[in-house]
């Protein structure tokens, strides 16, 4: 290690990339100097001390005292950090929630800290996936070795990806096992699975591999279809008995390795665990959550609902909006979708973000419940739904056309979007999948709002809500453009566009890649929504998103819808977020909020972020993915009329600015997004 001092470390760790850690196992000579650490602690004393200690270790330190800010930083610069150190006890967000989110979204190693050394707290850290737990007061010696977690994680990643090698399956699985054990140790349902898995692994012949971390295999893109197949296989086997080998056999997808399935399964389980934890915690919904197939579905949908709630909770979505959104989402609810467009305006009152969080949640849950039915199954939207979606999309589109900067517009869109989407989306993957779906169905107008689209998908919901919030503000202009350009754009698409969050677009892009073109398009919008929130302000993202959105939607609403349904690969990612209804929702919302606010997105960034975002849950679509998936970044521009998008974006940008002042950016009409 180079002990040249601060300068050396700085020079080594370029913000753009941590060459030492990213490029396979090639490690800089100076490593671990220059390790990019993000430290989060609300205690300024400890924060200052940690910062100094880490600097003394020659790490590159970024400190922040709020979890939301931390998430924003991480999202804005997805590849900008190597490891996160976070306090457990924080006022704005529970450290464990942050831990989960980071793990899901960015897949970075997270170290927890606390003055509390009681066993159950430490255990909590373990079960939530912390790679280490430090007791305060922290000594510098403890910090000197944190780089090992970064290396370890990357090693696992690479090995995980190394699915092409015959022996890798075993090894990968075995490598994955410890992680999985950690993740699932607390889950009751995991017990059997773990046991069986262990047995299975033991039976397999462990093949000692040399260090293959330098090998970077192309990541498998978990398209919506692929994920559907996966979920179907898991449900068929039963969540307890779903082992990668059997799942692989059931799926019968050529080229897919057990390793791919294993890592995907790991994420899926995490997602389910969260769902069940959240939903049951929330309001005891869906007792079926715990059950295998149904639970999965239920959780999925509930997640969607949760997201909205979370969003509402976080104050981004006005309570009323949330309620109305929920109403919309549920066809059968009395509130019903009949929300007139006009009323939607009310939904998006920006002022009362935190009101009725509980209500919203309830509603969301209900919504999700309903949606559960469809959830999890790569359902095809019923023709009726599609029709209604299209119709609503049209209607909204009309509204949107007016370029109504008011939140109401967005809200209406959201509502619409969420409504149709909620059904289909909820089904699939509450989180990630929803987003794309919703968006596509709603069509352009909605998307413009950007927020709307976000609402739709679970991920989208959470995100969408956020996005919605943002979008109305800035989206107004973009909306118009959208609608003009692409009438049938899936909400998600426009959403993506509107919101700066290129990431979402990217995500969807990646996912789309795998799928049928039309579907892919739809999903594109979808995925974006998630990130869109964050990137709302991003110009680039907007352009990017818009492009994607537009193009996607054009493809064909129906197919898009269908596709979007499938697109949920990202749902996993989303899952993490929506699952925690109460706490998480808030945090998610907050996180998204904060992210959206300041997120900067540039195409490349989005792609990366998107990739990583998606990848986290599914395949870790990291930067390298972009090329594979057709570079979401690239794709988007082509699809939309760039000029149109640009102008729309620019308008949005302006709109956003003005909106912010107008609404204080706090109101997220997404509350009412029906999930």
């Amino acid at each position: 290690m180079n002990l040249g001092g601060g300068q050396t470390a700085k020079a080594m760790s370029a913000p753009s990339s941590s060459a030492s850690l990213k490029s396979g196992d090639v490690v800089s000579d100076q490593f671990p100097a220059g390790l990019r650490v993000l430290v989060v602690d609300d205690d300024p004393t400890c924060l200052r001390i940690l910062e100094k200690m880490l600097r003394n270790c020659l790490y590159e330190v970024t400190k922040c005292n709020r979890a939301e800010i931390a998430l924003k930083l991480l999202r804005d610069n997805r590849n900008g950090y190597d490891i996160v150190i976070s306090d457990v006890h924080m006022p704005d967000m529970d450290g464990f929630k942050l831990l989960e989110q980071v793990g899901l979204e960015m897949d970075l190693p997270v170290i927890m800290m606390s003055a509390d050394d009681s066993k159950n707290v430490v255990m909590k850290g373990v079960t939530h996936g912390a790679c280490d737990y430090l007791i305060k007061p922290v000594r510098i010696e403890a910090l000197k070795n944190i780089w090992q977690h970064v290396v370890r994680k990357r090693k696992h990643e690479w090995k995980d990806k190394d699915f092409e090698q015959s022996g890798s399956a075993e090894e990968g699985e075995r490598l994955v096992k410890p992680l999985e054990d950690v993740d699932y140790s607390s889950s009751a349902t995991e017990g059997n699975w773990k046991t069986s898995k262990r047995r299975k692994d033991e039976e397999d012949e462990p093949e000692e591999k040399d260090d293959t971390s330098s090998l970077k295999k192309p990541r498998v893109v978990w398209s919506v279809e692929l994920h559907q197949q996966f979920v179907a296989a898991v449900n068929q086997l039963g969540i307890d008995k779903a082992v990668p080998k059997k799942i692989l056999e059931l799926m019968n997808v050529p080229g897919l390795t057990r390793e791919n399935v294993a890592s995907h399964l790991q994420k899926y389980r995490l997602y389910l665990r969260r769902l069940s934890g959240v939903s049951s915690h929330q309001n005891g919904l869906n007792s079926s959550f715990m059950g295998p197939p149904e639970a999965t579905f239920a959780s999925m949908s509930s997640l969607g609902g949760l997201d909205l709630q979370a969003l509402a909770a976080t104050g981004h979505i006005p309570a009323q909006s949330l309620a109305s959104l929920q109403a919309l989402g549920r066809p059968t609810t009395k509130n019903s979708i009949s929300m007139p467009m006009v009323d939607q305006r009310n939904l998006f009152s920006f002022e009362t973000p935190k009101l009725r969080f509980g209500d919203g949640q309830q509603q969301l849950n209900n919504n999700s419940k309903q949606i559960n039915l469809l959830h999890g199954i790569p359902t095809n939207m019923e023709p009726k739904q599609l029709a209604s979606l299209n119709q609503s999309a049209q209607t909204f589109g009309g509204l949107n056309m007016q370029v109504n900067p008011q939140a109401s517009q967005s809200s209406s869109l959201l509502v619409q979007m969420s409504h149709p989407m909620s059904r289909t989306q909820m089904l699939n993957e509450n989180k990630g999948n929803h987003v794309p779906r919703l968006q596509s169905s709603i069509g352009q107008p909605i998307l413009s709002n950007g927020m709307h689209s976000g609402v739709l998908s679970r991920n989208g919901i959470v995100d969408n809500v956020r996005g919605a919030v943002y979008n109305p503000v800035s989206q107004a202009s973009s909306l118009v453009d959208f609608s003009i350009n692409k009438s049938a754009e899936l909400p998600g698409n426009s959403f993506a566009q509107a919101s700066n969050s290129g990431i979402s677009s990217l995500t969807s892009k990646g996912i789309i890649q795998e799928e049928v073109s039309s579907e892919v398009k739809g999903s594109r919008g979808f995925i974006h929504s998630y990130d869109i929130f964050n990137e709302l302000q991003q110009h680039k993202a907007q352009d990017w998103g818009m492009q994607n959105v537009g193009s996607t939607f054009d493809a064909s609403q129906h197919s898009a819808l269908q596709g979007s349904l499938d697109i949920s690969p990202s749902s996993f990612v989303q899952q993490g977020f929506s699952s925690s209804q109460k706490d998480r929702n808030v945090s998610i919302g907050d996180a998204i909020f904060s992210v959206g606010e300041g997120a900067h997105c540039n195409n490349s960034k989005f792609g990366q972020q998107f990739n990583s975002f998606v990848a986290d849950n599914t395949l870790r679509v990291k930067a390298e993915r972009l090329p594979d998936s057709g570079c979401q970044n690239n794709l988007f521009p082509q699809q939309f009329g760039q000029e149109d998008l640009m102008s729309a974006l620019l308008k949005q940008q302006e709109g956003i600015g003005s909106v912010e002042s107008e609404f204080g950016f706090d109101g997220y009409p997404l509350d009412n997004l029906p999930v």
Binding site: G6, D42, D43, P44, T45, C46, R48, I49, K52, M53, N56, H89, S114, A115, D116, K136, P137, R139, I140
Partner: protein
């Protein structure tokens, strides 16, 4: 020489703080972090601590004022305060914090009140001593 004398005084004062249990090992950690780039690091951290701890103490006061006492919340806030104290090695203050938390667990309001007084007392005492110490070291 005066410089040497001041230095000796500072050293002695520091020694006493440790011997009398006001400071613990963590304080030494802070001292070791001090370097040419950050020559007043320890003083800086202690200053940050006292700024922030005033706020935490106010939080505890407010929570203590509630009737009935929310022991869970009190324990929570005290936990934060204690974590902060441990950062600078405030040994005695930390001990009183633990006593307070014990009373919280027993849900003993009077015990809590008494312990809180002790916390504040130790907190103020340490501040005085450290202020004097830093004043001395600055002169060296």
């Amino acid at each position: 020489m005066e410089g040497n004398q001041l230095q000796r005084q500072a050293t002695h004062m520091r020694r006493t703080l440790f011997d009398q249990g006001y400071l613990d090992e963590q304080f030494i950690q802070l001292e070791e972090l001090q370097d040419d780039a950050n020559p007043n690091f320890v003083e800086e951290v202690v200053r940050v601590f006292y700024n922030d701890s005033a706020r935490l103490i106010r939080n505890i006061e407010m929570a203590m004022g509630k009737n009935p006492m929310d022991f869970g919340k009190l324990d929570d806030v005290m936990h934060q305060f204690k974590g902060s104290c441990s950062g600078i090695g405030a040994k005695k203050v930390k001990r009183e914090c633990t006593r307070f938390q014990d009373y919280c667990k027993e849900e003993d309001p009077e015990g809590c009140m008494g312990a809180f007084q002790a916390v504040k007392q130790e907190h103020a005492t340490l501040k005085g001593k450290l202020d004097a110490y830093f004043q001395l070291t600055r002169q060296c």
